[in-house]
Symmetry: C2
Subunit: 322 residues, 2 copies
């Protein structure tokens, strides 16, 4: 896919991935509505296969490949949910998946890739080592590189969550997603603008990894500078394929403090009894300061994922960590 | 209600409480099915109002009262979910709720009662002090005592979860609930035996609080002897109203080790991305030893509640607790 995707590609992606992924439920919570002075609908991608929306884009990319392309498998670099998602999608198609991971990647992330049958290739924890590791794997195996977000097949796949959401909950004033590399955001934005033009798409980003916020305002990509946020899925910078879609279809990008991310995550666990990861909680975090932008609105939140190391929770101080 | 409830009273309860409580969703999890070699359906009462099935029985009891009975409010003793549920049900009816709690009850439980407008009366943490505290309150206020489980109105209300479950998932081989005082179990058992006579009702109980297991086998109530289990909702003993219903309609009671309770709780959080309290996890815990009794069966589990102190998780050792 070489030209910018439209709602047509998102619909095709939805058909393609339908046999594999969940149509996730939408949940609401009276006490959070009251607290945020808004009517909030959560599209629960934390209940998605492999625990995050990432499986949508990965599955669409893997099943878009022609047989001769797929022959030698797929490869990516990822320390997070995309690696596990790609491994699972590849297993469904019966091909190999190679995932380049920094050697200090959390055990729980390594386990997820391995559980789905992915082959892990370790590298030093630098961007250069990661790219070198990937190039080496692609060279050696002939695998097709599937970028975590800067890929139109991935973007179209991520858009399918919003496609379901617009059908499940009509007439939303606002749809919110987190933004890291922009795959979910750009896919959501192009889908919502086509299906529900009056609905605003607004992204939430950690203050401490605010490259999308700055890029959006500057009108050019400004990469992240040492992002340091608990929202580990949002440390990446926008790509040259996601950014134009975001400029075209996104109304605003707001930033969220670390404190509000953790508070929002705790609220989702405590009030909704569901597990959201920090990167997913950033959207609710954006509502906590009660800005007039959100007051009284019908807001759809794509709760992006639920992959958390349950032994490492930000509100619990562990033995020996003082 | 003075005679033993039947499915008729459960249906009436369902009509009565319908405007207030959630019809909770049923969720499944492919990886847990694989692990337990069974097809498991979870009725998610952790998503219920006030975070547990308890609101069903409390609401039915509160709204069964005639106006002149309700006039002076309701009262109970509870260090757990029933206190909060009764407070919320009383608020819905616009009457007062008095909850007698041991002075060492966890802050999070006190907060829940207070949040719903209940009045807390503290007592020493002994059974005698609790009963004395309750008698004093009833005497002083004229409030109606609503027992946490040994009350036919409460039992009928708890049965409404199974009523929904049987409609949502037909032809279950087994329905499982945890058992503490037996309110949920007896209500479930009488409902399932009426609606789906071929379905077996089996209860799960912590090994370390196995009064129901022993009573069921002995044919007479044997109260708990210093129950010491992480499943704090299941430390109570069967009542003289719940026990006969259990003898009549329950197929078996199985016991679960503390280790399996914690493992099951962690699995539910990790795999299903939902929050279940230890008392709710005991049912899945019963499936972990892979007994032939459960193998290959279609099993419905009533996941009873999700009220957990998120700062105190059994798999995390906290600072200063060694």
């Amino acid at each position: 896919m070489t030209s910018e995707p439209t709602i047509k590609q998102v619909r095709e992606a939805a058909e393609r991935i339908k046999p594999f992924v969940h149509c996730t439920p939408v949940q609401t919570c009276a006490s959070l509505n009251q607290m945020c002075k808004a009517e909030i609908f959560f599209k629960c991608e934390n209940f998605q296969k492999a625990g995050a929306f990432k499986i949508r884009g990965a599955t669409n990319a893997v099943f878009t490949l022609r047989n001769e392309e797929a022959l030698h498998g797929v490869a990516t670099h990822s320390s997070g949910n995309h690696g596990a998602a790609l491994a699972l999608a590849a297993r469904w198609r019966g091909i190999k998946a190679y995932v380049v991971m920094p050697e200090n990647a959390p055990q729980v992330k390594q386990d997820a890739v391995a559980e789905y049958g992915g082959e892990i290739i370790f590298c030093k924890p630098t961007l250069a080592a990661r790219e070198e590791g990937l190039a080496e794997v692609v060279d050696r195996t002939g695998a097709v590189f599937i970028h975590p977000y800067n890929d139109y097949r991935v973007i179209s796949g991520q858009g399918t969550a919003a496609l379901e959401f617009c059908q499940e909950v009509p007439e939303l004033d606002i749809v919110m997603t987190p933004v890291g590399g922009g795959g979910l955001l750009s896919g959501t934005a192009l889908t919502v603008s086509a299906l529900s033009p009056k609905t605003q798409v607004i992204a939430a980003e950690p203050e401490r990894a605010n490259d999308a916020y700055r890029s959006f305002r500057a009108g050019r990509i400004i990469p992240s500078d040492n992002p340091d946020t608990i929202a580990d899925g949002l440390r990446t910078s926008l790509g040259d394929l996601t950014f134009p879609l975001i400029r075209k279809h996104v109304r605003d990008i707001v930033t969220v403090s670390e404190e509000d991310i953790v508070t929002a995550m705790h609220l989702i666990w405590e009030r909704m009894k569901i597990i959201a990861e920090p990167s997913a909680a950033v959207t609710l975090g954006a509502l906590l300061p009660k800005s007039p932008q959100f007051s009284g609105k019908r807001i759809g939140i794509i709760l992006s994922g639920g992959n958390v190391d349950l032994a490492q929770l930000p509100w619990i101080e562990k033995t020996g960590e003082q």
